[in-house]
Symmetry: C2
Subunit: 199 residues, 2 copies
C-alpha cells in the first residue's frame, strides 16, 4: 500500500516496546511531517546515543562515562549494592529517589527455559565486587516472578558465607509484577519495608 | 538520573504518537541493547525515508515517486476521487482493499479555531483536477467530526455546479470518530453504504 522506505521504517518502529503496527505507521507520518523538528533531531539523538552511551564496566548501568556517574559519585553509600535485572529497574529506583547506594545490573535473570545461567549474569563479578569493596548490605531487587525469585535465592546462597546483610524489597511489589512498571510510591514503600532474607 | 544523550533520545521518542514518557525510556533501552539489529537499521531507515519520500504533487500521498504509485497506476479507476484529511486515512482505505479509485489528501480540515481556510487545504487544486480529468464521482471520506463535516459540506457546495456525483462514506463511521482508527470491516461497510450527498 505504501512505499518500501515507509514500510521498512514502520516495521522497525513496530519493534519498539509500546508501538504496535498501527501506531508505528502513525509514528512514520509524524516523523515525515515533522522532519525538521522531530525526524532529523531523532536521527542525531540516535547517533549521539550510539556513539557515546556504553554499559558501565562496574555495575552495568548505561552512561556516557565508565565507570558511570553513580559508580563514580562520592555522595553515594558505597557499602550498599542493590542488585536488579535490567537498567530499566535501576532507572525506576532512581526516579523513586529513596535509594542512595550503588547498583549491580544483572542484565537478566536465571532461566532454565532460556538457558540463562549464573555465568551469563556475571554473578562471579558481583561476588568479587562485594568482597573487594567491603560491602555491608546487598538488596536483591528482583522481580516477583518465578525466575526473579530463583535468581534472588541463588545469589543469597552464594552470599551466605560472607559478612554481608542480604535483603529483598518489601511489601509493595505485586506478585508476578515487573519492577519498572511500578509507580514511585510503591517503590518507596517497598524499599522502606525491605526484609532480611532467610534461606 | 541518566545521561544527557539518553534523556534527549527519550524526549524525542516521547513525541511520537503512542509513546509516553515511560515507554519512550524503554524504547531507548531497546535501541541501545539491540543496536546492531534495531538501532542502526532504524537510523538507516529514517535516512532513507527522509531522502526518498515526498508528498505526491497530484494527490498528497507520500511515496518515493511523484506522481505517486496510486496516481501513476493504470489499474485504478481514474474517474473517482476519494477526498480524505490525512495520509493515514488513505492508508486505512488501502488496507480495507475495497476502493480502486484515486485520492486527494487535504492535509487537514477547515477549522475556524485553528484558522485553516480552503486555501490551506488546496481545494482549488482539487477543483482543477476534477474538471481537467473528467472525474465522475467524488467520495468525501472525512471524519465524522464537526470540522470534518463542515469541510465536506464546503467541498460539496463548491462541486454543486459540476457534472459530478458527490457522496460521503455511509453508515459505519462512528459519530465523532477519526477514520484511521477504524478496522477494515467498518471501512468496507462504510464504503459500500456510501450515500449521495444532498445539500
Ligand atoms: Zn556503574
Ligand atoms: Zn498521488
Amino acid at each position: 500500500m505504501s512505499t518500501a522506505e515507509i514500510d521498512q521504517l514502520a516495521r522497525l518502529l513496530a519493534k519498539l516496546p509500546g508501538l504496535g503496527a498501527r501506531s508505528s505507521r502513525r509514528a512514520v507520518l509524524a516523523l515525515l511531517k515533522r522532519r525538521e523538528t522531530l525526524g532529523e533531531p531523532l536521527v542525531r539523538a540516535l547517533r549521539e546515543a550510539f556513539d557515546k552511551v556504553r554499559a558501565c564496566g562496574v555495575c552495568g548501568n548505561l552512561d556516557s562515562i565508565d565507570p558511570c556517574g553513580i559508580c563514580a559519585s562520592q555522595r553515594r553509600d558505597r557499602q550498599t549494592i542493590l542488585v536488579c535485572e535490567e537498567v530499566e529497574d535501576l532507572w525506576a529506583m532512581e526516579r523513586a529517589q529513596s535509594y542512595g547506594g550503588l547498583y549491580h545490573v544483572l542484565g537478566g535473570k536465571l532461566s532454565a527455559i532460556d538457558a540463562v545461567g549464573p555465568e551469563d549474569l556475571g554473578i562471579d563479578r558481583l561476588m568479587a565486587r562485594i568482597q573487594a569493596d567491603d560491602v555491608k548490605e546487598v538488596i536483591l531487587a528482583l522481580g516477583a516472578t518465578v525466575d526473579g525469585q530463583t535468581t534472588a535465592h541463588y545469589i543469597a546462597e552464594r552470599l551466605a558465607g560472607l559478612a554481608v546483610n542480604v535483603s529483598r524489597l518489601g511489601h509493595g511489589v505485586p506478585v508476578g509484577g515487573e519492577l519498572n512498571y511500578l509507580d514511585e510510591g510503591t517503590l518507596q514503600a517497598a524499599l522502606r519495608a525491605r526484609q532480611k532474607l532467610t534461606l
